[in-house]
């Protein structure tokens, strides 16, 4: 779906309220009588990491030598209760994406890329594939409301367990996988008829609320003999309360996914209008952890719109212990590659705009179950590209951390940041650049 803002004829004025995208949406709804379903995350402009800047060292701070002095990047996740916490070489992890939404080869590539740089990858709604387990040194097993493909053998094979309450693209919503992607293998793993439009539940089937979740987490620990870290993932909404309740429920790690986080198939109206931006969620999560005395003890993973090392560094400066990438990882694999420009146009999209992951016609062979399309994608090459991208993210974050005088990415702190807009300053709880003003914070006035 494209938005064009210029016109050769300046006498034509496009309505800001009824722009061409809006008009097209109304026309599409009138044509079909059903809501629009698409992939990707929120596409609307939102306050984001771009609205923050780092204050590099100068007179009052001492920088580290960019190419010589050590700047650590490792992170330990889940050492609150688990016998075997994850020790990752980089804090950039791969978010949960299902086999079903993605091809088996794409899942394999995610495992290959993550393992090459010593980080973790995550299953999704649909179970664990041999390709992914085989290629993933650190594999997080998602425990979802649908429990598609969930079984104790795979639970024991996992390196960590992530109880998913929601995701940023659709907090409060279940999942869907349309019939064109329910291949024989996908249907078999999910115990569903082949070719139907599949729904995933929005609520877990056997627990309700945080008191129940505590019992559920205890069950998972008992089944796995307290060996594995237990994550709890929430879509960003009432993040302060959700993080507190997740901690009370016994989570070792809390994953907060902002509304820019991607999905394989969700209603457009849901993606764009439910949830809060990642930037607004992080300080809420950190406050909750700090008030419980659990910041850095229960680790915080942030996802939703992480694109480069600056985003990684900013999320960590705001208090995250690690981040997760999904959309960016798919792009690194080859999603929206301009070399398929003609094919994207043939299916009514364009390279750089393609978001119809639900259709299964992905020219890049990533978000599909079509054997011919999937065969286009080389998991070894995809893994190499992802590893490259992860290395760049890590090096970029290190570059910024050194400039701020930090010998480890986790040493970054809110004091290193300023905001470019009042909105970002209020959400991120850092001063507006050039002032000491943090909107909404008592006692903070502009200089």
């Amino acid at each position: 779906m494209t938005t064009q803002t210029s016109s050769q004829n300046w006498g034509l004025r496009e309505s800001a309220t009824f722009d061409r995208t809006t008009i097209a949406a109304i026309q599409r709804a009138a044509d079909t009588g059903i809501y629009d379903i698409r992939g990707w995350g929120a596409k609307r402009p939102l306050p984001h990491f771009d609205d923050l800047l780092f204050l590099g060292a100068s007179m009052s701070r001492y920088p580290l030598e960019g190419y010589r002095e050590r700047c650590g990047t490792d992170v330990v996740l889940g050492d609150r209760h688990a016998t075997y916490p994850l020790h990752l070489a980089t804090p950039v992890t791969i978010a949960g994406m299902s086999f079903g939404a993605l091809s088996g080869r794409a899942k394999e590539a995610l495992g290959r890329g993550a393992s090459e740089v010593g980080t973790s990858t995550t299953t999704g709604d649909g179970g664990m594939t041999l390709e992914e387990r085989g290629q993933s040194k650190h594999l997080v097993y998602q425990y979802l409301p649908s429990r598609y493909g969930m079984n104790p053998d795979d639970l024991r094979k996992a390196d960590a367990i992530e109880v998913v309450l929601g995701q940023g693209a659709k907090p409060g919503g279940g999942g869907m996988l349309l019939g064109q992607k329910i291949s024989e293998r996908v249907a078999g793993m999910r115990t569903l008829p082949q070719g139907i439009d599949q729904r995933s539940a929005s609520r877990h089937p056997d627990w309700t609320g945080p008191d129940d979740l505590a019992i559920k987490i205890n069950e998972l620990r008992e089944i796995t003999d307290w060996e594995k870290p237990i994550y709890v993932k929430v879509g960003a909404t009432r993040t302060y309360y959700d993080v507190k309740l997740a901690c009370h429920s016994g989570a070792d790690v809390v994953v907060v996914d902002g509304m820019q986080g991607g999905t394989a198939a969700t209603q457009e109206v849901f993606i764009e209008h439910v949830g809060i931006p990642t930037l607004a969620a992080i300080p809420q999560a950190v406050q909750a952890l700090q008030e419980l005395g659990l910041h850095r003890k229960v680790q915080l993973i942030v996802s939703g719109g992480i694109r480069n090392g600056a985003d990684v560094a900013k999320a960590m400066a705001l208090g995250a212990d690690a981040v997760a990438i999904g959309s960016a990882a798919l792009i690194a694999l080859g999603d929206n590659d301009p070399r398929y420009a003609a094919e994207y146009e043939a299916i009514g999209s364009a390279a750089g705009f393609y978001d119809d992951f639900q259709d299964g016609r992905d020219p890049a062979g990533i978000t599909t179950q079509d054997p011919e399309l999937a065969a286009r994608f080389d998991p070894v090459e995809g893994g190499r590209r992802l590893a490259n991208f992860l290395r760049v993210l890590t090096m970029e974050a290190q570059t910024i951390a050194r400039a701020c005088g930090k010998a480890h990415l986790q040493h970054l702190e809110p004091e290193d940041l300023v905001a470019l807009t009042i909105e970002a300053a209020a959400m991120a709880r850092v001063p507006l650049a050039g002032t000491s003003w943090i909107p909404g914070q008592p006692g903070q006035q502009g200089l």
């Binding site: 009588g33 429990r147 104790p152 008829p193 056997d206």
Partner: protein, 232 residues
């Protein structure tokens, strides 16, 4: 050998004395076999979860949430009532509850047989994926919600919203159904269904029931594809 005579591999635990962790860790031993007795569960949660051995486990008393959760191979008998999620996600084996079960009994279970001799509360068999469930009494609302596969037998009545958004599970109810959920409909009892039901009743110890007195319910399959005409 007299079946009541303890054998070398038999184990006995008392949750008034032994910690839950000790009990479950012992039940996960790689060479586990024989019979296991667990006394005084006193409503403890997660009793005998994650079993994966051909053992017989007898739990003498009431249990809390998730008893025998994710069971594989084992034959578990609970001589009491069970809390939420008994035998949730069971893969194989048998779990028998001599009393009543709370909500979400047999939730998402893939295989094996769950027998609740008394009543089962709401959401019995929710998202079941291949398990067989036989309930001696009544079941609560939203039973077999989004049930995907397997068979569910209810000897008593069913609460509101039976089989809402059901996929391919077959439900047999002898008593009254308060209401059917979306896309769940009554279906004729053909000979193969009578035979199937007779087998399930026999496996659960209710072989004296007349299978022809039951009604079969299943999916109308009208929600299998999203359309503007879907009624939710």
């Amino acid at each position: 050998m007299d079946p009541l005579t303890p054998r070398p591999h038999d184990r006995h635990f008392d949750l008034a004395r032994d910690s839950l962790r000790e009990v479950n860790a012992a039940l996960h031993a790689p060479d586990l076999e024989g019979a296991v007795t667990i006394d005084n569960p006193a409503g403890a949660h997660s009793v005998a979860v994650g079993l994966d051995a051909p053992v017989r486990v007898s739990i003498n008393g009431h249990v809390g949430y998730y008893a025998a959760g994710m069971n594989q191979q084992a034959e578990v008998t609970i001589d009491g009532n069970a809390g939420t999620g008994v035998a949730e996600n069971m893969m194989s084996g048998t779990v028998v509850v001599r009393g009543n079960a709370s909500q979400s009994a047999g939730a998402t279970a893939h295989g094996g047989l769950l027998v609740v001799e008394g009543d089962a509360a709401a959401r019995c068999g929710i998202s079941m994926k291949g398990v067989d469930i036989v309930v001696g009494g009544d079941v609560g609302h939203s039973t077999a919600f989004m049930a995907q596969a397997g068979r569910l037998v209810v000897r008593g009545d069913a609460g509101e919203g039976l089989g809402d958004s059901i996929y391919e599970t077959r439900i047999y109810v002898r008593g009254e159904v308060a209401s059917l959920g979306a896309d769940c409909v009554a279906k004729p009892m053909r000979a193969e269904h009578v035979e199937e039901l007779a087998g399930l009743l026999k496996a659960a110890g209710f072989e004296d029931d007349d299978p022809s007195s039951y009604t079969r319910y299943g999916s109308a399959r009208t929600l299998y594809h999203f359309t503007a005409a879907n009624k939710y």
